[in-house]
């Protein structure tokens, strides 16, 4: 009985890993890392997390969880409510819609598709954000943010891969 309880607890804990890791990364983007000149920019770590888990363990990171993570991001950053939600939900949707691609993906392929989907998601979220704010943000910032996000993908993918191997 006790053993079964712990097994169940263990399983429940493991099922929470992607969600917890993603929220942690979203909180991490808030850290005051003031690299000169790049100050207002951090990669969209949450976006990478949602992509990775939506590809590999969609059962542990369903669309509604992507919604909640987006909400968390919006509430934390003080951005117009909904921009983060659109960002993460659209990413989840893109992956779910193109599930066939990800049957036996190579690393490069995953990276390339992340680049494509991230561009679409970020563009969507930025256009909605600009509409809500009533102002077009700096295009250079958008581009830098995108480059940083795609550039950070290999590191994060490695991290997620390790976590997946160890825990899931």
């Amino acid at each position: 009985m006790a053993l079964e309880f712990f097994q169940r607890l263990d399983a429940a804990g493991k099922a929470l890993v992607p969600a917890l890791l993603s929220s942690f990364l979203i909180i991490l983007t808030l850290l005051p890392l003031r690299a000169p000149e790049v100050a207002p920019l951090t990669p969209a770590l949450g976006l990478t997390a949602v992509y990775y888990w939506a590809v590999f363990r969609p059962d542990l990171l369903p669309a509604w969880l992507a919604f909640l993570l987006g909400l968390l991001q919006d509430l934390l950053t003080g951005a117009p409510l909904g921009t983060g939600v659109i960002l993460l939900v659209s990413m989840h949707f893109f992956v779910a819609a193109q599930r066939k691609i990800f049957v036996n993906p190579s690393f490069t392929m995953l990276w390339v598709f992340f680049g494509l989907f991230a561009a679409a998601s970020l563009l969507l979220s930025w256009s909605v954000g600009s509409l809500l704010v009533g102002q077009l943000p700096d295009v250079r910032m958008f581009f830098l943010h995108y480059v940083l996000t795609v550039g950070a993908y290999p590191c994060l993918a490695w991290l997620f891969g390790r976590v997946q191997q160890l825990l899931l």
Partner: protein, 292 residues
Amino acid sequence: MQKRAGTVARIASPMRALSQRFGLPLLLIATATTIALGQMDARVVERARVFVMDTTTPVLEVLSEPVYAIERATESFRELAELRQINESLKLENERLTAWHHRARRLEAENLRLRSLLALVPDAGARYVSARVIGDPGGAFARSLLVAAGRADGIAEGHVALSGEGVAGRVADVGERAARVMLITDLNSQIPVSIGLSGERAVMAGDNSAEPRLLYLQPGHHVSAGDRVVTSGHGGLFPPDLPIGVVAQVTEEAVRVRPYVDWRDLEYLRLVDYELPGLIAPLIDKQRPSAE
């Protein structure tokens, strides 16, 4: 093991079918609702923001510690390399400041005499709290900082955030142990200012870039680059004469201000309660007698 998986599957599969059938529309509705709530400035949203802020503050506090440690280490290395040069320039500056100091003392004495002459009421003693910056949510649409001080420390909405150099922003949301400071570069920040020696008036409006714009300048104004910009105190959100920055450039389209605050080097902010009446209070007071 096998049996339990079966039960879970039996419960889960109709749920999954349901969520697959209605998942996307439901999510779209939820997203639209979220956006609408955000645009309406609903009370729920503010509560949620404060709640999230309070729960993540401990995490951010712990995580920001090593960040600052590394920053300080690199900073001290850099300083070591530049020590000679810094020393040189400090000596020069010291000379200059000594002269200023004397002048300030003289002016202070003069001011004191004039004040006693006029029987002016001195400024209300402003209370302040020094708070550590623990979060710097970047992004394209807002400029704000999270600081590790909240209602428990006596912080309230509207308190003015100062760095050593000048005005950094205003407290926008307050949680129990954390607060969000809307920076002067934020899109929603609009501050009545006065410029230069002539005291030309304008409103300094942030647009999420590093250099806010000056709006509503008089046509034919005499504002030029290098002019000092300070708060004018109009509107009651800021006390008058707090340093903000200098005019950086004057062009056809815009006059821009470079804030004194060094955003890269912001570890602590001073949150000051000037006990200002706020934007609405004076209006209410004015209306009251006429209503009676």
